[in-house]
């Protein structure tokens, strides 16, 4: 009888221990998940602050025409007539042989420069 009671007590204690262990693991898991989420959010916020930092500085620089870039690229549409001029110049020079290649080159470059004046 005494033996049976101690057996039941042992089983009950074991069950309680397992339940407590499960609860402990669950709490730990939940805590680490929250910590991970917080770390991700912090990283994201730091990125957002970096974005605001560069945007605000760029806006302030623009107010004095200050740019970190050394070169700028501008793209311009070419008129059809200008294209035709270039084409005719090129075809003429091609017909005159190797001696006129230089003039074709000069006229092409000349017309290109005129466009930018």
């Amino acid at each position: 009888m005494k033996n049976q009671i101690s057996k039941y007590l042992l089983i009950t204690l074991m069950i309680i221990f397992v339940i407590l262990l499960a609860i402990l693991i669950y709490i730990r898991f939940l805590g680490s998940n929250e910590g991970e989420e917080y770390a991700i959010l912090t990283e994201k916020a730091e990125g957002e602050i970096t974005y605001l930092d560069s945007s605000i500085i760029q806006l302030m620089n623009n107010l004095n025409n200050i740019s970190y870039s050394r070169y700028q690229v501008t793209i311009k549409e070419v008129n059809e007539s200008e294209q035709q001029d270039n084409t005719s110049n090129n075809s003429e020079s091609a017909g005159n042989g190797s001696q006129t290649t230089e003039s074709a080159r000069q006229s092409s470059s000349g017309s290109e420069q005129n466009r930018w004046k």
Binding site: A45, I57, Q72, W116
Partner: protein
Amino acid sequence: MPDKVVVVVNKIGGNERSSDQSGGSSGGNSNASESTNQSEARTSRLAQVDSLLNSNYDDIPWDEISYGVETLYTAWPTISIDMKALNVGESDISSFSTTLDGVAQAVKVQDKNSALINLYNLYTLLPKYLSYFSSDETKLNVYNTKAYVLSSYVSANSENWGEMNTNVTNAINTLSKNMQSEKLNNIEKTALEKSYTLLEELKRGIGVEDKEIFYLKYKLAMEQLEIL
């Protein structure tokens, strides 16, 4: 327009490629290259950006600035939600919106000085936000250094040389705190030393009391600080 122009003509479809160079009267050091793609019917041109020493400071690209401000308006709601989640103070979050409105109003009426002041006020909120959730003192010092440099940049508009000098001195002192950090690797140390030297140069430049020289040195210092 640059004095010296290098023109490159590319004819796509054909097999022709030619180049020429024409010198200007003064033979300046600025170069430009130009290419024509006839099949796409457009011309592209690569040119050096104007020197700050000869720049036109009154020719402000307001359209570009307006677009930049609008982009900030678009990004802010998402950022403010994240800041709230990280327990950033409600008053600090709302003051960003208020100051951004001030920037927009200044840009709208094309008031350069007011736009500069409001943008600077906007910037000072960033290290404040960071201090709520980051314990990285090095990063915080870099933001505070930049804030001091920007403050001197704002003062440059009214040529307040005394205030500019104080702000750059504060920037140097703030950045020097990072110099003592033992966490830095060799690359970070070199970048930090370069920033420190450029800030000292900036301070020396203030002594000359020349706005263009200040802007030139400011650009170099700020470009380096953004790498940190």
